[in-house]
Symmetry: C2
Subunit: 329 residues, 2 copies
DNA sequence: CTGAAAGCGCTAACAC
DNA sequence: GTGTTAGCGCTTTCAG
């Protein structure tokens, strides 16, 4: 391992003190002449300031941490892409962790990040936000993405209320009355929006009409299949994410229930394959990449920040919804 | 920002010296009694050793860097997931960067990682491997994933030769002779395998039958559309990745060329939607997550490492390939 | 405007 | 077995 050039060597090469080098390189004041000398020496030696040294001294890390439930889920991948893209413009590294929507694992990852003295963190929180107390008190600069679970943490979220309402209204307009919501744990926001939308349209309320899956394809499939199997009376389902939508289509095929003839399907999150699917899926598109980007902007912002920014969703009608079918069986 | 507990405070609380605390916490020798005291004090104060301090002293970072062309591409997302999963078992953080398959951007990211004193790096290299010289000489512990562009860097790659050969043979068996390869830049391996497979089966060689796209959906679509439009004589295409496959299906629909009636399609990389697609896509599946996991194992391994590990691919026949059609138009 | 010096938190010699 | 101490590379007072 080749030894690394240090500020001291640059100072010697330039014939100045280390403090001067530090100042010049961080844009402090210096005479034009000195500046020149230092810059030349640094360039000549190909000097790279050690982030370790700087961070230790400064007692903070520039970089940012990013916690997502599942990087394999297109939605979170796009969200991450947004964060990465913003961070790149700041030249700051981002450390990502996968929580699997498990609060325990999340806490563990937060611990790792704290050990790194990472003081900026973007997270799709997995629990109800309780365990964030300590981290917050420790001074961690956190912003939540996709889910808003605490009022004291700035959050960037899609407009769940509007999105769900649009979906439910659209389905109701097609004559559906028994509409199910297939969600994943941690989406309390959305479930609340769903039940309230159902209520506001005077549709029959039924707790069993919302089904939850954990953060895995298997779990999603099981939930979807269970719903389709046991509730032959539901004529429409809203899948709370692309993995759930995928599971719903798969389960429907397996169980030989036809979309949209037997049941209509609306999926949250527009993904490229939604259009290629048979039938093409009607979706509520969400600005995943934007959510990430905005969250990153927020976490880099020093001053007072808005408590929440809500980004619009959009209904994209394709071919997975039809008029209410007579109940199956 | 709450001040952080330091080793010194733990030492005082336990009534021992700092070195002892350090030793105990890193599993060094100490009497049972002291160990007890230290552990108790550390737990009581909720002490978190600062990675910054340790790394500065040690002159290295535990964590690992990961460079992928596009985190939004399911293949790389799964690869990343594998890396993350392995790193988690070591309790080490991973810093990810997106190169967009651009060597310049890649170099920039490597620079950032070096500033962090990151000494372990997993990369899907974007160029021909030339620019890796300096980084390697600087002692960076690199392993390549998905692509093998330098013999002096351990690599974990899918078995491109076998995969491509299988695909070409399958297609040839169906009667196809004009087979095109739709790849992305940087996949030189695969292109070589393709041309050699074509040759070994005695099919007509034609340089224009391999088309390249850059790392974006738009570029992929343009390449696919161009191929389908200008080469009405090709009756089968192999897409070198899921993004390219998606683009091919989309372009085919747009141009009203039917799969598999007008052209057969084999896609590299099996993704959940391949089965949901209309028609379901025949694919060469690749162990993306495994590639990442194995690469991570390698980068953590200290001693001598195998120069390359090749992971098997598999042909999954679905419905996107048919017998050779008469040339369109 | 510039240099000397004091640490940031930690580990690894080195003494005891 | 345990404590003391010297830095790792850097920024930031504080003098000059």
């Amino acid at each position: 391992m080749q030894r690394r050039i240090t500020i001291k060597e640059v100072a010697e090469a330039a014939g100045v003190g280390v403090a001067t080098v530090s100042r010049v390189l961080s844009g402090g004041s210096a005479s034009a002449e000195t500046r020149e000398k230092v810059l030349a020496a640094a360039a000549r030696l190909d000097y790279r300031p050690s982030a370790l040294g700087r961070n230790l001294r400064r007692q903070r890390t520039g970089g940012i941490g990013l916690l997502v439930p599942d990087i394999t889920d297109s939605f979170y991948a796009r969200l991450a892409d947004g964060v990465l893209s913003c961070a790149r413009s700041y030249g700051e590294p981002v450390t990502v962790g996968v929580t699997g929507d498990d609060p325990e694992r999340e806490a563990e990852l937060i611990g790792t990040l704290i050990e790194q003295s990472m003081d900026r963190l973007i997270a799709v929180p997995s629990g109800d936000g309780e365990m964030w107390g300590p981290a917050l008190r420790a001074g961690l600069n956190v912003v939540f993405a996709d889910r808003r679970v605490r009022a004291d943490v700035p959050s960037v979220v899609p407009d769940d209320r509007a999105g769900v309402l649009t979906a439910v209204e659209y389905l109701a307009g097609l004559g559906h009355r028994k509409i199910a919501y297939l969600g994943r744990h941690g989406q309390s926001q959305r479930v609340a929006a769903f039940t309230s939308a159902i209520a506001s349209l005077g549709l029959p309320a039924d707790r069993d009409l919302v089904v939850h899956a954990r953060s895995s394809r298997d779990s999603a499939y099981a939930a979807a299949a269970g719903l389709l199997q046991h509730r032959a009376d539901v004529t429409a389902v809203i899948a709370g994410g692309n993995v759930l939508g995928e599971a719903a289509v798969l389960a429907a095929r397996e169980l030989d229930v036809r979309i949209p003839r037997d049941v209509s399907l609306i999926m949250f999150d527009d993904v490229p394959w939604a259009e290629l699917c048979s039938p093409p899926l009607t979706v509520i598109s969400q600005p995943a990449q934007d959510i990430g980007y905005r969250a990153a902007e927020l976490v880099f912002r020093q001053g007072r920040r808005p408590p929440a920014v809500t980004l619009p969703t959009q209904l994209v009608v394709r071919a997975s919804c039809g008029p209410k079918a007579s109940a199956r069986r």
